[in-house]
């Protein structure tokens, strides 16, 4: 109930936000929402099912390239292109999973990096697909019909909408049998098999759903920037950011990635504003140090830290209540126990 109230409050704030901020802060908000959506999508396979992928940029890039190529080469509407990108990424995730799910744990993570690198190299060399130069989308058909705008605000609504849809899907997964199976696979894969869970199939389901929504995020990015190249949509740094947002916020929790994105993206942007101009990379050093600090002191993420704090408060309150009860019992032995003194 409390979580629901908090969510509604955040949603109201998000709906009201554009009225209060200028264009540059609105852009920051869009970045937060987009990173949050990617973290939430990553969380399906990386958090709930515990298969830490460091190659999700491949799906992001596939989404961005599918919608942009369809638009640039064939004049296909980006709304349809976005959906097509999701389907392409989900389909190719079958090959991704087929090759990587043979491995477990760290080896799985390493394999995902390798596969994502292959995809990046492919797009860097692919002449028809823009190669290293990238692709520029036309701005001729501005408006909702073509998901192309000259101002930031519509992209804010799109990013918010996409985040809400992705959250809704996670919410449903978390409460359905899929969520139970994913967590079982994460906790004890052998025990999961012994109760009839086909873990290969369910890992693949998690990966495909995650890939689909990651690709939608990629297409949205492509429409927002109207320019993509392999470095901006397929880099390993992007894969790592998706994982970081989710892990720092709290992997395997519904709102963890959203919180992670608010914290991480803000740190990233503020250190860049404050120290980025020095040209000595101080911003990335501070950014990295903060990540290490969170990872060392709060290994279960911000959500995990918050739950720990609440438990401690609860036990302290219970201890205090016990003390009061003991005190009042000692002071007035006839008084019924538990009555406030």
């Amino acid at each position: 109930m409390k979580v629901l109230a908090f969510f509604c409050l955040c949603l109201l704030a998000a709906l009201a936000l554009p009225a209060f901020v200028d264009a540059s802060h609105l852009n920051l908000a869009i970045l937060v929402l987009m990173a949050a959506q990617l973290g939430v999508a990553w969380n399906i396979v990386g958090g709930y099912a515990g298969q830490v992928s460091l190659g999700h940029a491949a799906f992001y890039g596939l989404g961005a390239y599918t919608s942009t190529l369809l638009l640039v080469k064939f004049g296909v509407n980006p709304w349809f292109g976005t959906l097509a990108g999701g389907v392409v990424a989900a389909t190719l995730s079958l090959a991704f999973g087929w090759s990587c799910f043979r491995l477990k744990g760290h080896y799985f993570a390493m394999a995902t990096i390798a596969v994502a690198e292959l995809v990046q190299i492919f797009f860097t060399e692919w002449e028809w697909g823009g190669a290293a130069v990238g692709l520029t989308a036309p701005v001729t058909n501005a408006g909702w019909a073509w998901m192309t705008f000259s101002t930031k605000l519509p992209y804010y609504w799109l990013a918010l909408g996409l985040l809400l849809v992705t959250l809704a899907v996670n919410f449903w997964i978390e409460r359905s049998w899929l969520g139970y199976y994913f967590r079982a696979i994460k906790d004890e894969p052998d025990a999961a098999r012994s109760i009839g869970v086909n873990i290969a199939r369910y890992k693949q389901i998690a990966l495909s759903v995650s890939a689909f929504f990651t690709a939608l995020g990629g297409s949205l990015y492509a429409q927002k920037e109207l320019y993509i190249d392999p470095n901006s949509v397929l880099s390993t740094a992007l894969s790592i950011k998706m994982a970081l947002v989710s892990i720092l916020g709290g992997a395997g929790t519904l709102f963890g990635p959203v919180i992670g994105s608010v914290v991480l993206t803000s740190i990233e942007e503020f250190t860049r504003i404050l120290y980025g101009g020095t040209g000595r990379g101080i911003d990335t050093i501070i950014y990295a140090s903060l990540i290490i600090a969170v990872a060392v002191f709060y290994p279960s993420g911000i959500v995990g830290w918050w739950h720990g704090l609440r438990r401690r408060w609860a036990s302290r309150k219970a201890a205090a209540a016990d003390a009061v009860r003991a005190h009042s019992a000692a002071a007035a032995p006839q008084a019924p126990a538990g009555e406030p003194s």
């Binding site: 409460r175 359905s176 049998w177 139970y180 199976y181 967590r183 079982a184 994460k186 906790d187 004890e188 052998d190 025990a191 999961a192 098999r193 012994s194 109760i195 009839g196 869970v197 086909n198 873990i199 395997g252």
Partner: protein, 237 residues
């Protein structure tokens, strides 16, 4: 007719033979103990029946259907449930959620799974832990939780791997009671056990393995007085 028939099963890992031509059977509703000294190949045989290893040769037939070489999840669907030496409970879940996950094999609906899970928790005398994290329970409680979880897939036979190891006498008694209650439900039990005083009084049949081969099969009385068994356990006296 026998519920489970293991016929001439051998399992080799490279040059090492873990099981050689093992044959035995379990009738519906029977408790069968699988005993033997360390390294006798009990757990390997157990893993072959549960689908975790494909046998190198031989047949494993459950209810007329050959299940040898099927994947663990397929064996579970066929009616073979198992527990592990360490409980392997899902520690990020509550006790109830652990059992619910297993109950979802027959129906994916969460509310139905909860109803069925609560019954199995009660069966294992664990209702009071329903909403507690599985990781916070003691070893003995987690083992019983693993049994409740295995039973929630509605198996024909339950394979238990050393459920009594490392338990104190009162916990052993609790585990024995659970095994007896399982038999009452008509579910057969194949129990790998080191704690002989736990399994001997309740087993309908004992199968003794030594160095990968079955050396004796019979009632607990026959087995415990058999010179071959005494020799296998104690060596030359």
């Amino acid at each position: 007719m026998n519920l489970l028939e293991v016929t001439n099963v051998s399992k080799r890992f490279g040059g090492l033979t873990a099981n050689e031509d093992v044959t035995f059977s379990v009738e519906a509703g029977q408790i069968v103990g699988l005993i033997g000294p360390n390294g006798a190949g009990k757990t390997t045989l157990f893993n072959c029946v549960a689908g975790f290893y494909p046998p190198s040769s031989g047949a494993i037939v459950l209810d007329g259907r050959d299940i040898a070489g099927l994947a663990p999840e397929a064996c579970a669907r066929a009616g073979v449930a198992r527990t592990f030496q360490i409980a392997r409970t899902f520690t990020s879940m509550t006790a109830c959620e652990n059992v619910m996950t297993a109950a979802m094999l027959s129906e994916h609906k969460v509310s139905a799974a909860r109803t069925s899970a609560m019954q199995w928790l009660a069966f294992a005398n664990l209702e009071r832990f329903a909403d507690k994290p599985a990781g916070s329970m003691t070893i003995s409680e987690q083992r019983r939780l693993a049994v409740a979880r295995a039973l929630a897939i509605n198996p024909r036979i339950l394979l238990m791997d050393e459920v009594m190891a490392g338990l104190n006498p009162s916990e052993v008694k609790e585990a024995v009671d659970v095994v007896l209650k399982i038999r009452q439900r008509g579910i057969a039990c194949l129990v790998v056990e080191h704690v002989l005083e736990g399994i001997m009084p309740i087993a309908d049949k004992i199968v003794v393995l030594d160095r990968g081969c079955k050396i004796v099969e019979g009632t607990p009385q026959q087995v415990s007085s058999d010179p071959v068994v005494i020799h296998a356990y104690l060596g030359d006296a």
